[in-house]
Symmetry: D2
Subunit: 343 residues, 4 copies
C-alpha cells in the first residue's frame, strides 16, 4: 500500500510499502482519511532521531490520524464497518504493572506509531486494537478527528493540573501543544489563561479564543505582566509547554502560593530549578507524558462546541503532496499551527 516513508534523515518518499498486518479478534482495520504533522514527525525528518530513538530503517511517519473502519475483528462489538474514528497511537502491554495501575502511558513497553522502530499511520490503511479507536460524532470532520491526538496532550495536562473552576493559569509556549493546553485549561474551568511566547503571530491565533490573554516575552517581562494582570496575586496553575529551558527561572515566579505546575514541554537537557523557592510557595509539580483515556473526552468537548480545533488547522495538503506538506511544516512559519494531510 502507499505510504509516506522516511527513508532516512531528510529523505522522504511516497511509495508502496509492504506491511503485513492481520486483523486480530480484538482489532479493526481503518482506512486513513486525515493525518496531522507533529513536531516529532518533522524532527525525525530533519534530524533522523529524537534522543535515543534513531531511524535506522525506512519508517512510515504520522501518528495523528482519523479514518473509516473497513474491517472488524471477531470479538469487536463496539464498532462496525463504516464507523468514523480517530485513534490513540500507542499500544501498551496490557499485562504490565503500569497499565494495570491506570498509567499505561508510562508502560516501558508501549509501542507508539512513528517512534522507531514502529511504523506510523500516514498510509492507506492501518490495523489497530479496537480499544484504542474512538468514534467521531457526525458533527466532527476527519481533520478535526486527527486533531484529537495533540488535543489529548493538552487534556492530559489539564487533568493533571487538577483545575478548580475559576482558577487562573499561565501556559508558557504558544505552539500547537501550548494552545491545546490553553484551550483544555479553559474547558477544564479556568476563568482566564495567559499564554506567553516570543512569536506574535502564534499569540494572535491563541488570543482569538475568548479568555486567553497573550504575553509577548520578547517585549514584556513575564512575571511583571502576570502580577499586573492578577493584581499581584499570580496564577494558580502553570503549564510549561515550550520545552525551552531558559524559561524555567521565570515562570515559577508567576506562581501563587499553593500553585500546581505541569511540565508538558520536553527540554533537551536538564534545567535549573530553585527548589527553595518552590518550597516557600508550596508548589507541586506534575509531569505529562502522552495521555491516558483522553481521546473520548477530547472528542466530546469538541462535539459539544466547548473546544474549537478547526482554527488551528493552518493548511491542508492532499496525500499526494505529503512531501511538500512536510517541507512546509519544516519551514516553521510563525503563523502556522497545524499542517494536515488528507487522503
Amino acid at each position: 500500500m502507499k505510504a509516506l516513508v522516511l527513508e532516512k534523515k531528510e529523505s522522504l518518499s511516497i511509495r508502496d510499502f509492504p506491511i503485513k498486518e492481520t486483523v486480530g479478534p480484538d482489532d479493526v482495520k481503518i482506512k486513513i482519511k486525515a493525518c496531522g504533522i507533529c513536531g516529532s514527525d518533522v524532527h525525525y525528518y530533519s534530524h533522523g532521531a529524537i534522543g535515543a530513538y534513531v531511524v535506522r530503517e525506512p519508517m512510515i511517519l504520522g501518528h495523528e490520524a482519523s479514518g473509516i473502519i473497513i474491517e472488524v475483528g471477531s470479538n469487536v462489538k463496539e464498532f462496525k464497518i463504516g464507523d468514523r474514528v480517530c485513534m490513540e497511537p500507542g499500544i501498551p502491554n496490557l499485562r504490565s504493572k503500569e497499565t494495570l495501575s491506570g498509567n499505561y502511558n508510562i508502560d516501558p513497553e508501549v509501542r507508539f506509531w512513528a517512534t522507531p522502530p514502529i511504523h506510523g499511520c500516514l498510509r492507506e490503511e492501518v490495523v489497530h486494537p479496537a480499544m484504542f479507536c474512538i468514534k467521531l460524532l457526525d458533527n466532527m470532520s476527519f481533520e478535526e478527528g486527527a486533531m484529537m491526538e495533540p488535543l489529548a496532550i493538552g487534556m492530559e495536562a489539564a487533568k493533571k493540573a487538577h483545575i478548580e473552576p475559576g482558577d487562573t493559569a499561565l501556559v508558557v509556549g504558544c505552539g500547537t501543544i501550548g494552545i491545546m493546553t490553553a484551550v483544555s485549561a479553559l474547558a477544564a474551568g479556568c476563568s482566564t489563561v495567559f499564554i506567553s511566547d516570543v512569536k506574535q503571530p502564534k499569540l494572535d491565533i491563541a488570543a482569538s479564543y475568548p479568555n486567553i490573554i497573550p504575553i509577548n516575552t520578547s517585549k514584556d517581562n513575564l512575571e511583571e505582566e502576570i502580577l499586573r494582570y492578577t493584581k499581584g496575586k499570580g496564577v494558580n496553575r502553570i503549564f510549561e509547554a515550550s520545552g525551552y529551558d531558559p524559561v524555567y527561572p521565570h515562570f515559577f515566579r508567576c506562581a501563587r502560593p499553593g500553585c500546581t505546575v505541569v511540565l508538558v514541554g520536553i527540554p533537551s537537557k536538564p534545567v535549573l530549578i530553585d527548589v527553595s523557592f518552590l518550597q516557600g510557595r508550596g508548589i507541586r509539580i506534575e509531569t505529562v507524558f502522552r495521555y491516558t483515556n483522553e481521546f473520548d473526552k477530547a472528542a466530546a468537548l469538541v462535539s459539544a462546541g466547548k473546544i474549537d480545533v478547526k482554527r488551528l488547522i493552518s493548511k491542508t495538503f492532499p496525500f499526494e503532496k505529503s512531501i511538500e506538506a512536510y517541507e512546509f511544516a519544516a519551514e516553521n512559519h510563525p503563523d502556522v499551527v497545524k499542517v494536515m494531510i488528507v487522503l
Copy 2:
C-alpha cells in the same frame, strides 16, 4: 436602620431595627445594594424554623447580598471606600481545627446570616469581616453580585466532584441550586450536563444554556433517558440537588462505574441507599455544606463570561416592596428561579 424583619412565622415587616455594630480593625461596613431571596429565607418565613434552627426573636432575613463599602477598619488594606463587593455570609471561628484544616464551612461554631439567632443582611448597612468580602469587577452588576452566594454552592459541588474535562454529569433537581450546579459543572469541564425535574418551565430555563439537556421525569424514565443519551454508558458525575428523597434509588442507576456522586440537596429525613449497588459500581459519595473559598472564583467566571447568572433573576423588587417580594417567592411559581430585592 431600616430592615426586613421576620417578626415571627408568617409575619414580616419593614421597619427600623436597632443593631449596634462597630467596625473592628479587620472589618468593613457595607451599604447593601441587592439581596436575593433564598429558599431558606422563604422557609423561615412560612414555617418559622428549619430543623433545629427556630426563629424565637424577630430576625432580619437575607444572606445573598452585594453592596458598596462605606467604612474600612484600620487593618484593612485590600478595600477602600466605594469598592463594590459581594459577601460570604458565614463567619467561622478562625481558631478552630476545621478552619485551620481548610474546612471552615463545617466549623460547628460558624455564624451565618439569617440563621437564628444571627441576623441577616436585608437592611441598609452591615458590618462584615473584610476577609469575607469579594470585589466585583466593573462588568458585574450588584444583582449579579448577589447571585454569587447560590452560585458558590454550585461551584463547591463542582469542585468536590473533581470533574475531569470531558466528563458527563447528571444534576437531579432544577431549582436555583440545581441550575447553579449544572452551570458550574459545565464551567468545570463537563461536555454535557443532564438535568432532571418534573417542572417543565424550570427545565426550559436550564435548557437555554448550551450543553444542558433537560429530562422531565414526570414524563420520562430517568435511567432510560440517561442510558439512551449516553449509549448505555451512564454519566461520570451525579449531583443530587433536589433534596427529594424518592429520587435516590433512581439516580444512582445512572452512574457509570467509578462515578462520583455529590449530595447537595438536603433531604428532610434519612434516605434509603443500596450500598451493594454502590460498591459494585465503585461509586464515591461527596457531600456539600455551603462552600469554602468559592466566591472569588465564581465572580471570576461570571466576569469572564463563562457563567451567565443574569437569566436566572426572574423578578426584581425594590426594598420597599420586600414583603411583596417574599410573598411572590413563597408562591413558588414554576417559571421563577431567583427573586431579587434592590436597595
Copy 3:
C-alpha cells in the same frame, strides 16, 4: 484432578473433576498448597447462591489460595518453576474502559474464582495468568500466602480511606474482614483503631494487636465510647465491615468533621442514611469492591513483620478433610476467624 465440589446447596464432595485448562503463553500452572475458607464460600454452601449469583451446576469452591508454580507459559519472564506464589482470584477484561482506568475490580466482565459459573481453586492444580500471581518471600508460609486475599480487601479499604499518619479509625464489625481492615488501617498510619462487635471472643483476638481498642456494643454504646476515648472529638476514618444494616445510624455519629467513611461490608438490603447529618459533618463516603493492585503490597507488609496474619488462622484441615472444614466453618464459632485447608 481432585477438587472440592459444591454439587448443589448443602452438598459437598471431594472427587475427581475434569477441567480442561491449557497453559497459554501468559499463564502459569500452580499446584495449590493452601486455600482459606471465605464467608462467601460458606454462603454458597449453605444457601446455594449469593444474590444474583446462583449455583446451577456443580462448582469447585475456594478463592483464597497459594501454591507452587509447576508450569510456565512462553511469554512469562517473572516466574520460574518452583516459585511460591499467591494468586489474585479475579481476571478482568484487559480491554475494558474500567481496566484501562486502573479500576479493574469494577470491570463488569471480571471472572472471579468460585463465583458461579466460574470454578474456584480448591483443587490440585489451577492455570492462572502470571500477571495475577504474586511471589511469596521465603519468610512467608503458604497458609499466610492464602491470607493475602482477605488482607487485600482490608488493604484496599485502607488505601481508599486516604489515611494520614496519626489518624484515628473505627472499624465496625470484627469478622475476618473487619480485623483485616483494622490491621491494614494501623499499617497505613492510624495511631489507634477502635473495633466494634457484639462477639467478645472475636474482639479479644482483635485486641491482641497493639493499638486496637475493642468496643463490645452488646454492652456499651458505640458513640459514647468513641467520644469518651477521643475526648469528644470522634474519629477521622470509619470503616463499615459488618454489612449489618442496623449499625448505620450509629457509626456515622462517631465521625469527626471531615471524616472519610469506607463501606466494606455488603448489606443485604438498602440502608437508611441521614444525608443532612453527613453534609453538616463534611463526610465523604468511599466504597470497596474487592481490590486493585494490593496483593504485592499486602505480602510486603507481612514479610516486613508489619502485619501479622498468622494469629488469625484459627484451625487448619488437610485437603482430605475439606468437607469437615466447611462444616466447621459453617458453625460460625465466635472465636474462629479463618479456617484454612492445606494440600
Copy 4:
C-alpha cells in the same frame, strides 16, 4: 527573664532579656521545660543569617520546645494550668487566603520562632496562642515533646507523599530530618524504607529501626543498591532530605514509574533536574515547607508506640549549659542526631 540570646554571629549569652508579652484572651503562657537545637539555630549562631533572614538585633534562639501551662487566656477552654504541652512555632495570619485554604505554612506573613526578627523560645516562659499548643499524654516526656517539631516535618513529608500501605521509599540524607522522614514514612504505611548518606554512624542509628535499610553512598552506588534490593523495580516514594544538590541526578533514577518525589531538604542554590526523565517515568514532585496540622498526629503516634524519638536524643544539657550545648551541636559529630536542652 533568663534566655539564650544570640547577640550576633558567633556570640551567645545566657542573660536576662526583657520581653513584654501579655496573655491575650486566646493565649496561654508556658513555662519552658525542654528545647531542642535545630540545624537552623546552629546556622544562625555560626553564620548570623539564613538566606534573606539576617540577625540584626540580639535574638533569643530555639523553636523546638515543650513546657507546662502556667496561665490561661479568658477564651481558652481546651487547656488548664498544669497541662503539659508542646508548641507549633509558627503563627500565621489567620485572615490570609493561604490560611483559609488550609495552607497556613505558606502564608507569607507567618511569624516563626527564632526566625529574625521573631524571638525564639529558649527562655523561661513564652506566651503562645492556645490553638498552636498540643497536649502531651502522660507517657511522653518533655524531651520527647520537644521532638514533635522536627517529627512534624517528617510527618508533613509523609502526608504529602500520599503513601499507600505497602509502598517502598527512599530517603536521601540521614540527618535529623531524614530519620524523622524515614520513621514517618514507615508509620504511614511503607513496608521498607531505604536511607542513604555518607556518614556511617548516622546510618547505624537509622538502621536500628526495623525495616529501615541503610545505604552508604560513600561506598555503594545508590541506584544500583536500590535496584538490587527491589529486584529492578525501584521505589514508589522518594524523599530528598539532605538539601545537598549533587544528589539530585542520582535519586530520581531510583524511581519506579509513577513515583512521587517529596523535596524536604532545602538546597542553597538551584539544582539541575532532568525533566524529560521525570516525564517518561510519570514522576510527581511535592514540596515541603514546615507543616500544617501535624503536631497532634505526631504526638499520637509517639504515645501509641508507633514512632520512637527517644533514641534520637543524643545528648541533653541543662539550660545553664546552653552555650556549651550549642558549641557541641555546632561540632557536627557524625553520631549525634539531636541535642536537647532542659529547663
